[in-house]
Symmetry: C2
């Protein structure tokens, strides 16, 4: 009698213990991966060590992330989301929309070359650039559009400009951290990237040279 009256898909009444544990595990895994990857770099961080620090079995990681790369992407996205939030709290006081965009890319460049959690990810340039494009894209594209509306920039395809900028920022960050590019060339780098947004050379130089307000401190790591 296969026609028993068992509910085939029991409506998930409210959040059960499973869902709570899953959220804890996912967060713990990302936090552990973040720490270990920041300490030793993406490649040197082994899945076993990450699993141990998150206090789960080695195989469990694969219930949450299909591969090590996918886990690394999740880590990156969490870092970037956090940075985007911190940037937001500062830029909404700016009068010049072009400066909002300039501050954003300048901050990403500074963070990528300074924060060890970012630095250790840089060798995976293509992954990090793509994550940057996706995660901070909505903010950056909005800022570009604002600056265009204000007559400061000239851009027909903001997504294209943003993608070009992402690859350039990450590539230059890696070059700087590896010493192939002088660290004090950050201002000219920003100026040239602003040129891609359709501002002339003098305007770009001036914008890139403006002094920057401080970011709010990063939220403390939760244990």
């Amino acid at each position: 009698m296969p026609d028993t009256h068992t509910a085939p898909k029991p409506a998930p009444k409210s959040e059960g213990r499973v869902a709570r544990r899953q959220r804890r595990n996912r967060a713990a895994l990302i936090a552990a991966a973040r720490e270990i990857m920041a300490e030793k770099g993406v490649d040197a961080a082994t899945m076993l060590e990450i699993a141990e620090r998150a206090d789960v079995g080695a195989g469990t990681v694969y219930n949450y992330f299909k591969s090590k790369d996918e886990l690394a992407v999740a880590v990156l996205e969490s870092l970037m989301h956090e940075l985007a939030m911190r940037i937001e709290t500062v830029t909404d006081t700016f009068g010049d929309p072009a400066q909002v965009y300039a501050f954003g890319i300048r901050t990403v460049l500074d963070t990528a070359t300074t924060d060890p959690r970012w630095k250790q990810m840089l060798p995976r340039s293509e992954v990090i650039a793509d994550a940057l494009f996706r995660t901070m894209g909505p903010f950056a594209i909005r800022d570009l559009n604002n600056a265009v509306a204000a007559g400061r920039f000239r851009v027909t395809d903001p997504a294209l400009v943003w993608r070009l900028t992402c690859h350039a920022i990450i590539g230059m960050s890696l070059a700087i951290t590896e010493g192939r590019q002088e660290a004090d060339s950050k201002v000219p780098i920003i100026a040239r990237l602003l040129c891609m947004a359709g501002i002339d050379g003098e305007g770009a130089d001036e914008l890139a040279a403006r002094s920057l307000p401080d970011l709010p401190p990063a939220p403390v790591e939760r244990n």
Copy 2:
């Protein structure tokens, strides 16, 4: 009697068998790696298979290249050097020095997104971008300087602009081959990259839209 009259460093009279074999081995290894990496990608190409196709023992590869990465870089450099040579044969007929630069970056973008030997390397963005910077840098920087002298571009640090351009080109090439970026956005990509060289938007658009002469065919693979 340590003072025997043995020449401590016997002047290499002429090229001996060792030197000849070494040149053959190095060339064979690069050729084999080129083929296999083009077929299967850098990661999927195993050192053993490369050694076998080059007809040397597995350990011998490490007499010539410290690591798999170093071998991959050598392959890239050979590809890029070849492309630079082919570009040279075309551009020296151009009247406008800005067009020489534009043609160069356009050709690199086209080749990277089209030639399977390049395409398979793209996932190693950071390596390929750096190789591009080094290998084609002398040409690109010379072209930039010429265009500046002709009043077409405005650049204070050509190496910086070239490095930014390298990372952007390679990143966009990968995005195109993976379908994350439409392939028909190549012209606007080039236009935006030209903006970084200090030309205004209209000039960049016009330069990027010019039709391109064909390259001479690639030299045939030697067996």
